[in-house]
């Protein structure tokens, strides 16, 4: 899975357009950055064979933090 593909999925999960998800954008500004979107992202990554530690998701403050956690360059 490429970074761009993941950002597209992420945008769908938090109900915004991919253009709004620049690397430094703070996730807390999005109303739909919640437990539901977290589950969707875990499932998307799992489908792509990328396993992340769910305990580390709350530490992700920005889009880049999530990309780093998923190991997507």
């Amino acid at each position: 899975m490429t970074k761009e593909e993941f950002v597209k999925e992420m945008a769908e999960a938090i109900m915004v357009s991919p253009e709004e998800l620049g690397p430094k954008v703070e996730l807390s500004k999005f109303e739909a950055w919640d437990s539901t979107s977290v589950l969707q992202l875990i499932a998307v990554l799992e489908d792509a064979g990328i396993v992340i530690d769910p305990n580390k998701i709350p530490d992700c403050k920005t889009v880049q933090d999530v990309l780093d956690l998923a190991g997507l360059k």
């Binding site: 919640d34 437990s35 539901t36 977290v38 875990i42 799992e46 396993v51 769910p54 709350p58």
Partner: protein, 350 residues
């Protein structure tokens, strides 16, 4: 062991999950309903217990089967919401159903894997020759105890639990007169104890006024110790990791392919997880029955409730089932069964 009969009972009181709109942001409620898929569920009136629902399911089933009360020699009741600290709820059911003294009676404290674990427990007693006819009662009724009733929910962290869980009791009649089980599997991982837990109210944190005070937990959620903690991300990860191999093991054990199976009855955890698992395991959607939209997650009752609510047409003909439960413990288990002529009652409402 033969699956002789099955029945399920739910409270008449139907609650639309959108009823939570009054207290919460519609956006939050819509997100939770969209994710869990729970459009409505049943909540028992105060004073009604899991055991009452199980008894209401079991009595008519015994009558329909024509089983003399004296012929039942085991009652295993699986629940995480018993009537009393002691004695076990199974004893209440044993008394109310008028069963004989020569009966093995006990509770099992389990949730979502409770039905499949319970089936294996009763099967073991039957295989040993100790038991000829057993009743497996599975139910949970957490409204008003470890989670708030939907209408009484006023805190955001409780909202998801209030929407997700419904009340139900079931009865499964199992006999030594046949051999329906083709494969079985069970497992546990105690490292996930805290992912589904009610931390207060038992020996680790005994009853005290402090149990009703909200405090921050390790997940930065403000909860009371008597509230149910349900860690979605960890549970999803666990489920994705453990359930597909469980299916493979059961299919291999039974010598079946996916196409051979008539119905894959999964614990009704939530809609999102069921859809994900069905897709991951490449199961045809029309063979994965779902009752979550109408009854919510009913914990140990969810597999038999789903069979009764969605699969009446499969009870009489020869049918191949794969049943899989997964959840609190963490624990997971499953059975592959081939049944025919199962006595099944329409869903009972009390």
């Amino acid at each position: 062991m033969r699956l002789a009969g099955i029945s399920a009972c739910v409270p008449k009181n139907k609650v639309e999950t959108s009823a939570a709109y009054d207290n919460f942001k519609q956006f939050d409620v819509d997100r939770i309903i969209g994710n869990t898929g729970v459009k409505e569920k049943r909540e028992a009136e105060p004073g009604v217990t899991t055991t009452d629902l199980c008894i209401a399911a079991a009595g008519p089933l015994l009558d329909q089967l024509g089983w003399e009360r004296e012929s039942v020699d085991a009652v295993v009741l699986v629940t995480s919401s018993p009537d009393y600290v002691m004695p076990a709820s199974a004893h209440v059911a044993h008394r109310e159903l008028g069963l004989s003294e020569r009966c093995l009676v006990f509770d099992v404290n389990l949730g979502c894997s409770g039905f499949t674990h319970g089936m294996m427990i009763v099967e073991s007693f039957i295989a040993s020759g100790l038991v000829k006819r057993g009743l497996l009662l599975c139910g949970d009724m957490t409204s008003g105890t470890i989670r708030p009733r939907l209408r009484e929910c006023d805190q955001r962290p409780d909202l998801a639990n209030a929407i997700l869980f419904g009340d139900a009791g079931t009865a499964t009649a199992l006999s030594a007169e046949g051999d329906d089980v083709r494969a079985r599997s069970f497992a546990a991982d105690g490292s996930g104890i805290k992912h589904i837990i009610v931390p207060g109210g038992a020996a680790r944190e005994p009853w005290a006024p402090a149990l009703f005070e909200r405090r921050m937990n390790e997940y930065d959620e403000e909860r009371r110790p008597i509230d149910l903690v349900l860690r979605g991300p960890e549970i999803l990860t666990f489920t994705m990791k453990k359930v597909p191999p469980l299916l493979r093991e059961l299919l291999e054990g039974a010598g079946w392919a996916v196409d051979d199976v008539d119905s894959f009855v999964l614990h009704q955890a939530n809609r999102f997880m069921l859809d994900f698992l069905a897709k991951r395991m490449k199961l045809p959607k029309d063979r994965v029955p779902m009752s979550i939209a109408e009854y919510g997650n009913t914990s140990s009752a969810s597999i038999p409730l789903t069979m009764v609510a969605c699969s009446q047409g499969l009870m009489q003909p020869r049918t191949k089932w794969v049943m899989m439960g997964f959840g609190v413990g963490l624990s997971w288990s499953g059975l592959a069964m081939e049944t025919e002529g199962v006595v099944s009652l329409p869903l009972i409402e009390v």
